[in-house]
């Protein structure tokens, strides 16, 4: 797990760099380069979420720890199982919900009061928060 665990800061650095590149250069450029960049950013963060979830679930299974002695190169990984998948999706969906709530908060306190943008931010943010939280509850029941 060490290899994946230590890769997390580098993946996050790469993702943020791409996000800045998207924001400063690619967002106004027509074509697929912008979509590809932001798609890679999302994929990188999903990857980090999976590494963290995998590590946390591996921590709960001491019976699998002796495997470390057969894989001393730091690549022990928890294989795909329903439990891990549900936990992973639960965390990712919760993150998305809080993101929606954050958009609503920014809209309410940072944008011009009474403006159309403010109303849109609150509406879209709260709708995302509500629907994705509902999805998270359904996924949570599977855990």
């Amino acid at each position: 797990m060490a290899v994946y665990w230590l890769a997390v800061p580098f993946i996050v650095l790469g993702a943020y760099s791409l996000a800045y590149l998207y924001d400063f250069k690619l967002v106004t450029r027509p074509g697929l380069s912008g979509a590809a960049a932001i798609g890679l950013v999302v994929a990188a963060f999903f990857c980090v979420g999976f590494i963290l979830t995998n590590n946390m679930t591996l921590m709960l299974e001491p019976s699998r720890w002796p495997e470390y002695f057969n894989h001393r190169n730091g690549t022990v990984f928890n294989p795909w199982r329903a439990e891990i998948l549900m936990r992973y999706l639960h965390f990712m969906v919760s993150g998305l919900a809080v993101g929606g709530l954050f958009v609503a908060l920014v809209g309410k306190y940072r944008l011009k009061a009474g403006s159309e943008v403010q109303a849109l931010a609150i509406r879209a943010g709260m709708r995302t928060f509500a629907l994705v939280t509902l999805a998270g509850v359904v996924l949570g029941l599977g855990i």
Binding site: R81, E83, L101, R123, M126, T133, V137, I143
Partner: protein, 89 residues
């Protein structure tokens, strides 16, 4: 439900604390959903923060349940290591 049965039973009445946590989480989740669908930003934020804390506690119960056969806090031996400073007159 993919939790191991003994761990799941903790939340189903076997442990008073764990069951209370589950009920509180359930009520808070309903409150969050209600606040979210009625677009109350501040109330949603406060409820989400409280809910995250309660879920952290639930997670701790699950972790203890999973590791019970390998490790319990009671199994730790208390070994005081007084520093030399405490021996000074």
């Amino acid at each position: 439900m993919v939790l191991p049965r003994p761990t799941m039973l903790l939340f189903m009445g076997q442990s008073g604390g764990a069951t209370t946590l589950l009920i509180v989480t359930f009520v808070l989740t309903l409150a969050v959903l209600h606040a979210a669908f009625t677009r109350r930003v501040e109330i949603s934020t406060v409820l989400v923060v409280v809910l995250v804390y309660v879920m952290v506690l639930m997670r701790d119960v699950v972790r203890v349940g999973y590791l019970k056969e390998f490790f319990t806090l009671e199994a730790l031996k208390v070994a005081p290591q007084y520093s030399r400073l405490s021996c000074l007159p």
